[in-house]
């Protein structure tokens, strides 16, 4: 029987070699998620190592300039390692350790998940290998060196489109080869069950905190919660606790690259169709024969041809809305937030900021938008400079 379904999406479409591993992972997770010792250990790490809770910051200047809804930024960029990725990695590596694994592997696009995995592997004494497309090792060179510094081995992938999709392929292949002693720390709410559920649960701390923080500050829930979506982990993390609050609009911002009508985009909900890939049934950018499309985005972290199965279901049911944001809009938002609030957002998170720039002025002053600022933009500075025609050395 197929497991881990979200509507028609999800499942466990992996080679037989991995089936016992995903089943063992599910069993271990179901045990440890209710184990008081595990919960306390993870809680302490989240507080003392990752620096949680992250602040919910009122972007007053931005709010006033846009003249509409009140804008709050959930500051996941202030976490240790600079993004929300650490939440999931702490959970998964701790779980892997309890399961007796000696080694962790990870895929990475922008490098944030790779850095987070290398970081946690370092202090938990695990061997660590990270798979990253060659295009991404080039455009995110700083993160590659950070991972090396942390003791991880980075494998540049030269097959296919040499981006996140190909990094996932290679991590899956490597997991098949060494499944006995290795845990695959999947970085997003995607892949075969139980990953979409595990990653969502570890990331759902974001939405839980937001709810508490906004009630303290405003005494009411926000009108809109928005986040960027590649695979969709930061979005799922901030959405999850609000799914039953029907008056809170949930908006995911996809990477439209050069535009949804241009082949160079990665807007899966806008342009994709139902398929089965990377272990899950969901929406994918692909051709009529089911060949996965070579997608594109300026943002390495959103440069992925699929979307997590729970998002696909939130789209089907209409509970969340997904909007495309182009490279140009994201870069403008990157620059806008830097000069307006003194916060340099990751180019991924800038996709969410970009949509807020469009939406906030159309909303009334008593309404509230919460943007998940999923990561910081230091890693992107050189790439944005190049985008603007300035050649700088990192």
């Amino acid at each position: 029987m197929s497991k881990g379904k979200f509507g028609v999406h999800g499942g466990q479409f992996v080679p037989e070699t991995l089936m016992n591993a995903v089943n063992e992972l599910e069993k271990a997770y179901n045990h440890y998620k209710n184990d008081p010792e595990f919960i306390e250990e993870l809680d302490t790490l989240m507080k003392e190592y990752a620096g949680r809770p992250s602040e919910l910051y009122y972007a007053e200047k931005m709010t006033k300039e846009l003249g509409g809804a009140k804008i709050y930024l959930k500051r996941e960029d202030l976490n240790h390692t600079g993004s929300h990725k650490i939440n999931n990695v702490l959970g998964q590596v701790l779980l892997a350790k309890k399961m007796g694994k000696k080694r962790v592997i990870a895929e990475t696009g922008a490098g944030q998940h790779g850095v987070a995995t290398a970081t946690v592997a370092a202090f938990m004494n695990m061997e660590c290998d990270v798979y990253m497309g060659k295009v991404d090792t080039d455009r995110q060179a700083l993160n590659v060196y950070r991972m090396k510094l942390l003791g991880a081995k980075v494998h540049p992938i030269t097959t296919g489109t040499q981006t996140l999709k190909d990094a996932v392929n290679e991590a899956l292949r490597e997991w098949t080869a060494r499944v006995e002693d290795t845990h695959y720390v999947l970085g997003s709410v995607m892949g075969p069950h139980p990953f979409p559920t595990i990653v969502r649960d570890f990331q759902s701390v974001i939405g839980k905190e937001v709810k508490q923080q906004i009630l303290e500050k405003e005494g009411k829930l926000p009108d809109v919660v928005m986040a960027c979506v590649g695979g969709g982990s930061n979005a799922m993390g901030i959405f999850y606790d609000f799914i039953n609050d029907k008056d809170v609009k949930l908006i995911g911002c996809e990477a439209a690259g050069l535009g949804v009508d241009n082949p160079k985009n990665a807007a899966t909900v806008a342009n994709g169709s139902l398929g089965i890939f990377h272990g899950m049934k969901s929406y994918f950018c692909q051709d009529e024969y089911g060949q996965i499309a070579p997608v594109y985005s300026i943002s390495a972290g959103l440069d992925y041809p699929g979307i997590g199965p729970e998002h696909a279901n939130l789209h089907d049911t209409g509970r969340a809305k997904y909007v495309p944001i182009t490279d140009e809009e994201a870069v403008n938002a990157f620059e806008y937030l830097s000069r307006t609030e003194g916060i340099i957002p990751a180019i991924e998170s800038s996709h969410a900021v970009a949509y807020a720039l469009k939406l906030a002025p159309k909303m009334s002053k008593d309404q509230i938008i919460v943007i998940n600022l999923s990561g910081r933009g230091d890693k992107d500075v050189a790439a944005i400079a190049r985008y603007r025609g300035e050649d700088i050395y990192e």
């Binding site: 080679p15 037989e16 070699t17 089936m19 296919g160 899956l172 098949t176 272990g279 024969y289």
Partner: protein, 256 residues
Amino acid sequence: MSKIKDAFKNGKAFIPFLTAGDPNLDVTKELILAMDKSGADIIEIGIPFSDPVAEGIVIQQADERALSAGTTTDKIFNMVKEVSPKCNCALAFMTYINPIYVYGVDKFLENCSKCGISAVIVPDVPFEEKAELAPACEKFGIDLISLIAPTSKDRIETIAKEAQGFLYCVSSMGVTGVRSKITTNIGEMIATVKKVSDIPCAVGFGISTPKQAEDMVKYADGVIVGSAIVKIIAQYGENSVEPVSEYVKSMKDAIR
């Protein structure tokens, strides 16, 4: 009895693999006919996929070559339709679930049946997900081949009980590709199968030499060879018919 099970009736079966459209579909057609003549009992025809996660680098590159040559599922069906009436052996497709799912599961399996395909092997559809394909396979009389791996352990019996055609025994951890040594206890794996089912067992992944094939058929009912053949095709391209025929003969002779 299915054409697949028939393939195991006269001694040990040799099952070569090739990627359709590598280097082009005309050569694939010639290669299929040549393999059939050279003693293949079942030919596994790979439908190339952009992201073949169960394949090692050799077959990944073959898929890339085939796709950049403009190979599509429809063109492959046309090629198979022409070639299958001339083949004595059974033909099977090997591909991933996405090309089948997006093409339309019913339409795909109906075309398989019309073109003379007897079985499909889909490595990213494990036992738990086989409802995606099984009803349509049943409807159009196509065997859905099950796989077992060195990590399957307590799953072997469950899978074997419902297996159709033959059981694909994955010899090694990891992806497809030539290996100098196979360390899995194949004998034990197959003995577990035979406790619950008389399904023929064919071993694949890593096998390239006649000696390895000979060792495997001590326990198995057949051997599957992919990467070693794809390597020959990669090396000789349009001139690969001759060397592939010779290779297939030598492998079949080794297990006779």
